[in-house]
Amino acid sequence: MEEEIKLEPMYDKFGSVMQAVAYAGLGLLLVFGLLYLFGFFGATVSPEECMMHWDEPATVFWQETKGGDVDGYGWFLTNLTGMDSLSLLGVALLALCPVIALGMALFHAPRLYIFIFVVLILEFIFIVIRPLIFSGG
């Protein structure tokens, strides 16, 4: 007979939110990624062009394919008609997953952990906006 373990509410909240956001992110990545892979609709960088330059470092790749440097998120956020850019929204959502889960669990955390979660969220926000501050991209 399994004994009941009493978990703090923040565990359930964090886990549930992470699960939901991760599924949404993975769904976006898969759906638009497959459309891109099979050549439906438009692409920011076509698979053929991508294959010609993916052996070069990222900077050279973007110079060769788009004629400029990439620093920030504008390269895919301003090209959302391309299926590859849309699938990257899925990656971005996956990468936002922990901060959303932390934000939701914050309201259910013990006092000491509210502070730690806030520090983590601030760290995360800085990481996300860092390229925008330093390069304006």
């Binding site: 004994e3 990222a58 900077t59 990481i127």
Partner: protein
Amino acid sequence: MKQKRSASSLVRNIVLLVLVILGIVCLMSQSGAAAEPVPEAVAEEAPPAWFWPVVLFGFAFVIGVIAPISGVGGGVLFVPLATALLPFSVDFVRGTGLVMALVSAQSSAPHLIKKGLANLRIMAPLVIVSIVFSILGSLLGLWLTNAIPTGEYYVIIALGLLLLGVFVLMVKSKKVHYPEIEEAGPFAETMELNGEWYEHDRESTVQYKTTRFRMAALCFAGVGFLGGMFGVGAGWANVPVLNLVMGAPLKVATATSMSIISVNGAAAVWVYLAKGAILPLMVLPSVIGITVGARIGARISHKAKPVFAEYLVMGILLLAAILDIFKGLRGLEVF
């Protein structure tokens, strides 16, 4: 006493590994800044568009099958092997490896957290430290390959050295299923870094406490740095640190490591995304391949002999390390 000794030797190994890799990278990049860029290879006739995505799918699938049997994450196998054997830039391989590690971790972490096996109280303060170093590692890794003409080869050599370190760690570190902690450390006591879960094998509730938080945080700084720099999940180091240094039971250490990767990896992905180092054409087949493979691997793992799988993975790691170092040195025209 024995556990304390193996914990301090683990800390020493991790610190040494970080220092050696950093030192070599610094030394090589100093000389590399002045080096002539390696001439580009003559472009060969391109294969059909479906070819490389299918290869990536198969490659990630095989890794997905092997990883759960041996108990290592897919990223630590994918990144070095893909770097050594496939024709992609190490930037895109690391970006892909990170997304793969992230998807794997975020698929399993919520379940483990809700079950109480992954400990959020342990994860949160450790991640505050490791996330900073993970970002620093990602920035340095991408800077090396993009700012220095031959930087890519230094990163590949450093990746080979990291793998040798992982190999040594796998050979030397012992696993303790239920470490005995006489007294919780002062920080662990204040932060209540303890927990409990229902263990089906024992048919009882297991309670545990932890210790040596500061030492673990130091290790996590190093591990986060290497994970970000090379785009690997770093479960290979997280688990021994949580288990041997902090004294968390092995199941808790493994589950908590997953939740740490789901946060650390997510932070590092932003750096790669901002530098355009994540290509859906590589990410998609790799993510699907490793996910399908891991499901099959998880089923086989009950029947497979874990010792054989561990030796197999150790052999692959050693081979990948040698191939990476060879590829890096050849790129630098050492021979």
